[in-house]
Amino acid sequence: MFGYYLDLALRSLKRNKVLTALMVIAIAVGIGASMTTLTVMHLLSGDPIPTRSATLFYPQVDPSPDPDPGHTHEAWDMMDYRSAMDLWAAHRADRQAMVASGSLRLTAPEVNQPPLMAQMLSTTSDFFPMFDVPFQYGGGWQPQDDQSRSRVAVISSDLNIKLFGGANSVGRTLRLKDNDVRIIGVLAPWRPSPQFYDVAGGRFSNGKTASFYNKPEDVFMPFSSSLDINASGTNIFTCWHVPDADTKIEDKPCVWVALWVQLDSAAKASNYRRFIADYAAQQKALGRLTHADNTTLRSLMQWLDFNQVVPSDVRLQTWLAFAFLLICLFNTVGLLLAKFLRRSGEIGVRRALGATQGAVLAQCLVEAGLIGLIGGIGGWLLTLLGLALIRQQPVEYADLLHLDSMMFLTTFVMAIVASLLAGAVPAWRASRVALGLQLKTL
């Protein structure tokens, strides 16, 4: 029966090509617009590290000293060096890494290229295993390198291609400012979306969060030795006092260090939560912290949510695209109604020859579904076009965009479901055609 309906539907679509084209175009445009924005949304709001995200946490304590009545009870997005260092050095989590970012001048002495400003991540040895960072050559550094302030570095695949043409550069030298540093590892291409370990300050960004989708830094160095080299170029989140002249960065009244911890079970997470609360209470007793009750431990996904990582423009576009799809659907409802009811006579004959209302309904829905399928193909092509257009835009996440298999399937499912929904009222209306009246008019 389905095959027969399909045949009928094809004939009917061919009979009025303009009307068919209008409906297909409406569905294709609506699906194209909404799938383009939905794909962007899907890629930007996804889990940057699906295998690990459930066990990664972001502890925070509040170093702000002001017993301020207007205090918002939300700790700053990063920690001061002392708090972060204490928590890290306690080694109470399965793995833990401090991170801070900065920029500095970089050259490779053996390579004849002009100097460039590179982004550097200061971190500790657990960073690479904890975040499952893939290596192409060599590997990360060891805990003793953090202790002994080793002048070693891991570089990104991009930087390795730029400086060394992609060859194995382990053992070669980088000059960072005026210091020679030995390369011990080269990353394989690694592009988490968003660049989650640097996310902070989303709530102060007015929704302009596209920079969270930047590429990872080009140089990774042990926290201790990177401060020896580039304390002045390290990014500071904010300060609660103006630092005195020539205070070392470690002692500045500023927040600039983030700590990530891996906690493999819920029990460990609740233990760790208690640990940071105890730590804050103890520091309050020592007179260093004021807001001891203000500690949090968010999971990675909670932290991304808190920072509203998806740029507000992208969310707005998604809303707009779905409103647009809705308009296209109403349009299709109207056109399908016109199409089905124009065939009232034909339907009357079928009904008189014994077709049930359900059969007529099914026939109409098959036709609507077929339009959806064709519209879906158009929508898929338009989605590819839309993504290609966004890839041309100067946005940080442009290179991330592609249509994965899940979104490919969603395109067609959505097109067919949308057209069936659009076809429901017209099909129902067509199946209720008054039999006698139609036969009389033939």
Binding site: S312, N331, G334, R342, T441
Partner: protein, 407 residues
Amino acid sequence: MIMEIRPIFASMRKHMIPATLIVLEIALACAVLCNAVFMISQRVSDIHLPNAIDEQSLVTVTLRGTDDKLAGSDVPRNLAALRGIAGVQSAAVISTLPLSTNNWGWSFGTKPESTITDQSTTNVSLFFVGPGIDKTLGLRVVQGRFFNDDDYANSSLGSAPLPETHAVVLTKSLVEKMWPGQPALGKTMYTTGHYYTVVGVMADVLRPNIGGQNYSTAFFPLGAAGSKGVQAYYVMHCDPQDRDRIVREAELKLATINPGAVAKGQTYSEIRTKYFANMSSMAWMLVLVCVVMLAVTAFGIVGLTSFWVNQRRRQIGVRRAVGATRGHIMRYFQTENFLLSTAGVVFGMALAFGINAYLMQHYELNRMPWYYLPCGAIALWVIGQLSVFGPARRAAAVPPVVATRSA
């Protein structure tokens, strides 16, 4: 006209589904159209925000990775070299530029006890400027004076993010925000440990990042010797037609005399275009959505009305047979469409303002001005009338003889 409305309502009641569909389609189109046009207008006005510097005559080279301790001798040497380039009318250093996205902000209050964490303080973007910057940028000082040699000589940057000086020049908008309705010259702004007295007020210069207070910009004097190398932007003023050549020459010159550093040249127009590139592509996307949406709505109305005309061929025939002219039939369908559009516009406006209220809460949009209501209504009435014209003419062409055929 009044006489014709009653039969139209009667007919609509018999054809609830198509009538409802047209109303819904127009309502949705109206709601989305108003909001989309409003968003476009907001973006366009952002893109054209005025900025009181000579944008078209400015060229800049950023020099990074220099030795902070040598800034006192390096900066004057570099500036002298840049002034030697043919066509450079003046050159100066500054720590950041409007719309460069390179922002250093700090909050100041108007009372001595103000701290950075106070709620009542104003967040301000700090620009640390070197001698000659007023002439180079083409700043307009509207009250008081710009910095003199003593100001530059007596200012330095500790390790602090704030300069050790007591002179500041603010924009007109910023002084209006901090001391509304009061003369600003001689007023002092405070933060813990530092205070600055307003020596001059300048025309509105944009911040490095806009959003919220676009003109909360403060200029502080900073001589090269005490600058710790934060003044990484070398700015040059020149004739607009020389810009491209001067960018190349200045970049090359700075790279040559500072072999260890990284020099990158841009014209100021490029900085501005780059800042708004994303915004303008969003605006174009919205325009595209509006156009396609209106087209889809129009085709939908054409399709539905044609169907409706076909369904009522016999009735039209009867009316024609009993004496209605073609004009009567045309007017009937046009009036019908006008009524449906009106209903759609009424619903659509309610929806439009509802969506706007939601977006205001979640996306920092402003309230939609009232005149979007009549403009949106007129736009959709026009579209409705245009799309009904074809089907209505076909309806008017139905000959009276149809009435006599079958049933």
